[in-house]
Amino acid sequence: MKPAPFDYVGATSIDDAVAQLASGDATVIAGGQTLMPLLALRMSMPLTVVDINRVADLRGVSVSDQGVRIGAMTRQADLLTDAALAGALPPLVTAVRHVGHHQTRNRGTIGGSLVFAEPAAEMPATAVALGATLELRSAGGTRNVAAETFYLGPYMTDIVPDELLVAVTFPAWPRHARTVFREVAQRPGDFALVGLVGAVEIEGGAIARAGLAWFGMGPTPMRARQAESALVGRAPGDIRASEIAELAIADTDPFDDVHATAEYRREVGRRVFAQALTAALAQEGQA
């Protein structure tokens, strides 16, 4: 037994979970694919572990005209087999395919990945790119936070210890929106050296909306805001992908580590962005 001793509490409802969190030094366990290693390494030694696995209200995907709401406890594997989600939000499904491995997606949850805030992870960047909102619940009430303002630094977010992520809501994107996705990693399942995710909506022959964010390219997901602005209003045929890529790189803040230098990440990022944008604009789709 490697984790330090803790009290285990199986929450029965959202209110129950939130009440447990309010009572002191407690940590939530959802899929456990990040927390369990931290417990085993004793990097995390909470007094209480609150298990939300049996809270049915935290699970499930609902698709409406307004968008997509996904319960925080919904497992990554279940997002890959949800037919309604596949039609409504293809970029999210594409990104989930790159989260961890088959075995970890069977336990891992979208909420866990969102709040862990690993800078090179797919889910936080996807939430930022597609304009998602996070619904946080505490004993004091509910707070909605835009994904874009939620991420403060590596593994640091706006959530406070007595809050529980209940759901993530993505605004509607039209079915013909194009998926932008590229990930460069050393092996499948590894965190990205460079990653790009998002969507481009083409309406009446011109780009009406673009949502693009990098992962592995800074301390948080990095939204490619300048590139988005440059794309909107342009006809796909008038776009020089390499110029937009340059703008997108300007909104990154990559770092040197044992895997790659910041300059390498920028150079790979330029190429990946241009390729992914070109591929997205060439996708089949009406408009």
């Binding site: 037994m1 490697k2 984790p3 330090a4 001793p5 803790f6 009290d7 285990y8 509490v9 199986g10 366990i29 456990g32 694919q33 369990m36 290693p37 417990l39 085993a40 390494l41 572990v49 298990d51 696995n53 594997a77 961890g100 491995h101 088959h102 075995q103 970890t104 069977n106 336990r107 092996r187 499948p188 399942g189």
Partner: protein, 164 residues
Amino acid sequence: MSEHPIALTINGQAYTGRIEGRLTLADYLRVNAGYTGVHVGCEQGVCGACTVIVDGRAVRSCLMLAVQADGSEVRTVESLAAPDGTLHPVQQAMRDNFGLQCGFCTPGILMTMAVLHDRKEPAGEDEMIAAMSGHICRCTGYQGIRRAIRQLTGSAEPAQEGAH
């Protein structure tokens, strides 16, 4: 420190007990229930050796608390071969193709293969090989495992035993 009652099924047999919250499913299966075919390598979710099937899905048993398996149906490598010793098709494919050397990673690999092979629409070669990214093998260089998967998914002729 809290103690919790659990009741679960392992390889078709019912188990009950009282356990500490911090006990991992991997340790419960090995120490409390005696299924030492569950191999514990890294204990931090990297190597995949401890993979078992919980309620029909391949999961890392070191990344799950035993108390979370309350009410679940768990299968370990001990459940694969028939009582008369006949190997499960995934075991036979690994044996035919020299898919193991020291055997430490093998039980985990077999459980991922078994769940993908035994489901209603068996996985094809690409999906099964992609799922192998969740396992580390330090002996084989993976080529024997790839051959086993090709045989299993019908994309290669069965190998001759002892041909390698």
